[in-house]
Symmetry: C2
Subunit: 343 residues, 2 copies
C-alpha cells in the first residue's frame, strides 16, 4: 500500500470582491495511505488536470440560496477535472480508468459520488480536453447554442468572452452552421485569435470601445439574432437595444458581475418587449443526458480539424490559485487548465 | 349629407417625463361634411369608446427606433377604440357595423386601413368590453399567459399591476386553471378588488411594502413559477431572486419605466441563470390570429359569470387627457375607457 503526502489548495476564508491568491493556501497533508476503506462505494483517484471555471467564484462566497453550495473554508477547493482511478469501490470503474467530473484541488482524492463521473473512453485527443471542449464547457456551448438559441443558418450571432472556454466553441459552432459571427474579448491577442484561429467574421476589444452600443451597431447594422451571454452588466445593456425581432439571448454566465457586491444595473430591458426577445438562463448539468450525442458530433469535427480548442495550461497544482484568479482579469487565453500530473 | 364639427384631442408637443393634461389640446374643427370621397377604400366611423393604454406613452415621445411610430404633434392622438361605421368604401364593412381597432381621439374618423379593424359580431355584452376583455388587453392576457408562460395547474403565479386592464384577466385565467395567484397593486381599494372580486389568493399594496423581496417571500415561501410582468424596474429586481427553477417571466409591459429618461437598473439578472428562468417579451399583435379562439373561450366565461371585468369609465372625449394621464399614477381602477358616445 503506497504512502504519499497529499498537496492541496485550500480556501482560507470566504471571499468578498475579486478573489486573490492569498484567499487560498497551498498545504501538504501528513503521510496518508493510498487506499479505500473496506466496503467503500467510492473511488480513489489521482488528479491529472483541473479546470478553472468562472462559476467557482460563486462557491467562494458565503452564498444566500445559490444553485450550488458554498465551499467550506479550510477544505480543498472543489471543481471539475480529469483523474485516473487508483482504486474503485464502485462497479462502474476499475483501476486505471480515466474519468472526468467533480473532484478536488489536491493530488489524490477519494470521490464519494462516483456515479456522477464520466468515464473517458476516447484517449486519442489531449486528455485535458475533458476539462474543456469534451467536458462541461463543451456541453455548455452545445446546449446553450443549439438547444437554447434555436439557431438558423444566416443569422447574426454575437458572443461575449468569445475566446474563453465556452465562447470559442460557440463561435465555431455558429460558423459551421453558416451564421455571421462577431465576438468581443479584452485584449488584442484574443481579438486576433477570434478572427484568425476561430474564424469569427469580426471581433473587437471591448476595453477599447468608448461606446459599446456604437461598436455593436458597426458590426451589426441590421441587429443581432442571437446573443450568447457570458459577461452581463454593461455589455448586456448595450446588446439589448440591438436585438432583432424574435431574437434570443442565451444566458450562460455573467462574469463581469461575479466580484461585485451589487450587480450593474441593466436599464434597457424594455427592448425585450419591443423586439419580442427570448432570454433564457440555463444550467449545463440539466443537459448532461445529451453528452453522448454531443460527443458523436464534436469528436469527428476535432479529428477532421474543423474545430480547434485553445487551452491556457498552468503547470503544477501550486499554480492553481494564480490561474483561477486570472480568469477574473481575463489573463487566460482560452480555456484555463491546471496540470497536476500528466499520468 | 350631415355637417358636423369634429372635436379632437391633439398632441401639443413631444412629452418628456410624466405626461400632463396640458401636453394635449382639445380642439374643435370647422364644420365638415360627413362623407367619404368617391372611390375611397376607407371607412368613416363615429367613435364610441376609446381605450387608454400604457403603450400610448411611448408614442408621445420622439422615439428612436421603437416598434411603433411616434405621434405627430398637432395631430389627434391615435389609439384603439370601438366605433360605428357611418359609411364604408370597403367590402368588409357596411353602414351600421360596429368595429374595434385602431382609430383616433376624435368624434368622427376616416380610417384608411379598414382591413385592420375587427367587426363586432356579439353585442350582448357591454360594447366597451371591446376596448378591454374582448379587445387588445384581453388578447394580451390570453397570449401572455397561455402562450408565453405555458402555465400548469398548481403553479405559483405573481401578477403586477394586477387590477389593470390586463392583470385582472391574467389573475382570473390563472385561478380558473387552478394556480395559486398573488397580485400587487397600488391602493387598498385595488388590493380589495383583487381578493374579493377577481379571486386572487392574496394581494398586496406595493407602495406600503418597505421591502418588496420580503413581501414576495411572505406570499411565495416556495418561490414563483410564473411572473406576469407589467411594471418592470424595482419590482422585477425583487421578483428575480424569488423565481423557481424553470420558471417563466412573461414581459408584457414595464409601466414604471415609461416616464423615465433612463430606466431603473435591474441588478438581479444573474438569477436567470441559477434558476434557468425563461424571460420572454411579446407583442400582442403577433397573436391576433388567435382572436377567434380566444373569443370562443372567453365569451362563455363572461356569460356564465365565471369571469368579470372592471372598467373605469370617463365620460366625454374632453375627459380623455385626464384619463390617459391617470394611468401613470395608477388613478384608474380597472380598464380605463373614455366614452365619446354611446351609440
Amino acid at each position: 500500500m503506497a504512502q504519499v503526502k497529499n498537496k492541496q489548495i485550500v480556501l482560507k476564508n470566504y471571499v468578498n470582491g475579486f478573489p486573490k491568491e492569498s484567499d487560498m493556501l497551498i498545504v501538504t497533508s501528513d503521510t496518508i495511505n493510498l487506499n479505500l476503506p473496506e466496503g467503500s462505494n467510492a473511488v480513489l483517484v489521482k488528479n491529472l488536470y483541473l479546470s478553472c471555471d468562472p462559476y467557482i467564484r460563486g462557491r467562494m462566497s458565503k452564498t444566500k440560496g445559490s444553485y450550488i453550495d458554498s465551499f467550506t473554508p479550510g477544505s480543498p477547493i472543489e471543481g471539475l477535472g480529469v483523474a485516473k482511478v487508483l482504486e474503485s469501490g464502485h462497479s462502474n470503474f476499475k483501476k486505471g480508468d480515466l474519468v472526468w467530473g467533480g473532484t478536488r484541488w489536491e493530488e489524490y482524492s477519494v470521490l464519494n459520488a462516483p456515479e456522477t463521473l464520466f468515464k473517458i473512453e476516447q484517449t486519442d485527443v489531449p486528455l485535458s480536453y475533458y476539462t474543456g471542449i469534451l467536458g462541461m464547457p463543451g456541453m455548455t456551448a452545445y446546449a446553450g447554442f443549439y438547444e437554447v438559441c434555436s439557431p438558423k443558418k444566416g443569422e447574426y450571432v454575437f458572443v461575449s468572452a468569445a475566446s474563453g472556454a465556452v465562447g470559442q466553441l460557440v463561435g465555431q459552432f455558429a460558423k459551421l452552421l453558416g451564421c455571421y459571427v462577431v465576438g468581443s474579448a479584452g485584449t488584442k491577442e484574443k481579438v486576433d485569435l477570434l478572427k484568425n484561429k476561430f474564424g469569427y467574421d469580426e471581433a473587437f476589444n471591448y476595453k477599447e470601445e468608448q461606446d459599446l452600443d456604437a461598436a455593436l451597431k458597426r458590426y451589426f447594422p441590421d441587429g443581432i439574432d442571437i446573443y450568447f451571454e457570458n459577461v452581463g452588466g454593461k455589455m448586456l445593456d448595450a446588446v439589448l437595444p440591438n436585438m432583432r425581432l424574435n431574437s434570443r439571448i442565451s444566458v450562460c454566465g455573467m462574469i463581469s458581475q461575479y466580484n461585485q457586491e451589487q450587480g450593474d444595473g441593466v436599464r434597457n430591458l424594455f427592448h425585450i418587449i419591443t423586439k419580442s426577445v427570448l432570454m433564457k438562463g440555463f444550467i449545463v448539468t440539466h443537459f448532461y443526458h445529451m453528452y453522448p450525442k454531443y460527443m458523436e458530433m464534436v469528436m469527428p469535427l476535432i479529428k477532421q480539424g474543423k474545430i480547434c480548442y485553445i487551452e491556457d495550461i498552468a503547470e503544477g497544482l501550486e499554480s492553481a490559485p494564480t490561474a483561477l484568479v486570472g480568469l477574473f482579469s481575463g489573463r487566460n487565453v482560452g480555456k484555463q487548465v491546471v496540470v497536476v500530473a500528466r499520468e
